[in-house]
Amino acid sequence: MEYVVTTRELTRRFGNFTAVDRLNLSIAPGEIYGFLGPNGSGKSTTIRMLCGILEPSAGSGQVLGYDLASEAEKIKPHIGYMSQKFSLYDDLTVYENLDFYAGVYSIPYRERRHRIGEMIELASLSGREKDLVAHLSVGWKQRLALGCSIVAKPSILFLDEPTSGISPTSRKMFFTIIQRLANEGTTVMVTTHFMDEAERCSNIAFISEGRLIANDTPDQLRNQVLSGVLVEVEVAEPMQWLAKLENLPYVKECSLHGSLLHVLLEHENKMADLRVYTNSEVNPITPSLEDVFITLAKRDRG
């Protein structure tokens, strides 16, 4: 298969600090590529390099066959980018922002009105075309930013935490749009901290401290990363139990999920022991992606 994005040992340093560390990625056309990792793990830095606005310190990468470092300007007409920080013009209206980007992407005048109309429909922005962006809620702003970034119908879309800080309803709406774009053939690389969104990706790359530590489909990650059996324990004071359980020989990992503890056991037959030890309910559960990432991050640090 021909990949639309590939990187080889892509690295970015800021002074002595390595933000992105020898990253090898490959993104297939038409997929929703989830890019996950803890805060400061280098997601935004990677995306900026892929968009050609940040020079790699070492390694190389190609987007649509063009080299990141030497052919950045050739990449730009074909990609859309939404930065982590909202970056449209607050003092322009919804329509004016779209019109501006339509102009910047040189969409012919006679097509513009039609194209902007399409974007307004796609991003569910109708009714507020004449409103100043400053007066929109975060959810609307993010959809407008998406609309602006796809006004030229890019073949690859880079979205850096597009859904942070918006309501659950808006988030759902947003991801539905992403899915629609992917169905129409756009490749989407998206970073997120939300597991329900990660579940909807066709591939997930997980990075930590600038290094790629997992890269697979959500299903594979769930089933293969955790060896053993994951159980849920309901105890009165989970924080205190956390330390105790971590020291048990047959417990591989233990983490806190709300008021519940998720415990990874070596084998199914240790469930009874745990039940006796904690004197509480112990039930096997299917691991969520969050469990997987907690384990991955811990393993990476340890």
């Binding site: 800021f14 900026r48 968009c51 050609g52 606005i53 940040l54 020079e55 950045a72 300007e73 730009k76 007409p77 990609i79 859309g80 980018y81 930065s83 920080k85 909202f86 970056s87 449209l88 013009y89 607050d90 003092d91 322009l92 004016e96 019109d99 501006f100 980007y101 339509a102 102009g103 910047v104 992407y105 040189s106 005048y109 602006c148």
Partner: protein, 369 residues
Amino acid sequence: MSRILAVLYKEFLQMKRDKLTIGLIFMLPLVQLLLFGYAIQTEVKHIPTVVFDQSLSPESREITRAFTASGYFDVVAATGNYQQVTQLIDRGTVKVGIIFPPDYAKQVRSGDTAAIQVLVDATDSMVSNSAIATANSIGLLKSQQVLAEKVGQFKAPYDIRVRPWYNPDGITAYYMVPAILGIIVTMTMVMMTSMGIVRERERGTLEQLMVTPIKSYELMIGKIIPYIALGYLQITVALLVGAIVFDVPIRGSLLELYLLTLFFITASLGIGVLISNIAKNQMQAMQMSFFILLPSILLSGFMFPREAMPVFIKALSNIIPLTFYLTIIRGIVLKGIGFAYLVPQVTALLVFTVILMGISIMRFKKKIA
């Protein structure tokens, strides 16, 4: 082209909505000119004056008219006795008293020297200087005129605009208004471009633009043209204020003034763009703008004549665009000279523009960090 137009239109919309920009363009020239202009305008006009005319003749009335017509004296009272003249001056109601002797008309007609007494309240030296100087000039003019008529020559052209002679530096509103105009334009151009571009960087909108196919020079041109238009608008406002409030005439060609001003605007914009290249945030851009502005004010010849500067400082003033523009604008506005005499200055501004813009466009990379 479509990209430049898109940026142009966007800038236009943003400026239109930004009350501060509009304030800067219209209010800055107005306020600055009025403040500076009046502060340095050492001529005092409209001095309240009382007339004690014992002659009551056409000759005495004509002199009174000459006094009022000069603009320096406003006759606010006429009186019938000497005592009242001194009283009015003592009370401060008037600053000047003009007294015609009873035989004034007779003396003029017989060709004798006719004495008019002018009393001046000297507590305010500015007023008294002005009054004395003007009264003297009027006296001089009038006697010349009478003399000329006597000898049978044509009537001497009679200039009521009397320039007081006590201002040895020749610093007058005439001289200052064009210079202030230059200062205002640099200030606005340097500050607005640098802040405008840095603001886009701070807000992240520049990062978004870098990901688009727009080229550096397209972005620059699109951003700069609206500022050129603003510069012209501001100059027009300033010239109008100068003409209406300070009666500054434009002796040279207005068209030439506008054409040559372009080079000054672009040179100033060049400084602004370069600052925006270097400054990390709006605060820094502001500070750098002031850093540039101060030497412009001090060294360009705005405050101190360049002829009196030490050689080194004078050499330094040659790297300031305002220095050259002051020569251009004072030349066109006050002396009425044209392009032919201003080639060196225009060339200098052109060189500034090319160098500054060149460096900026080369330095401006579509990269962050």
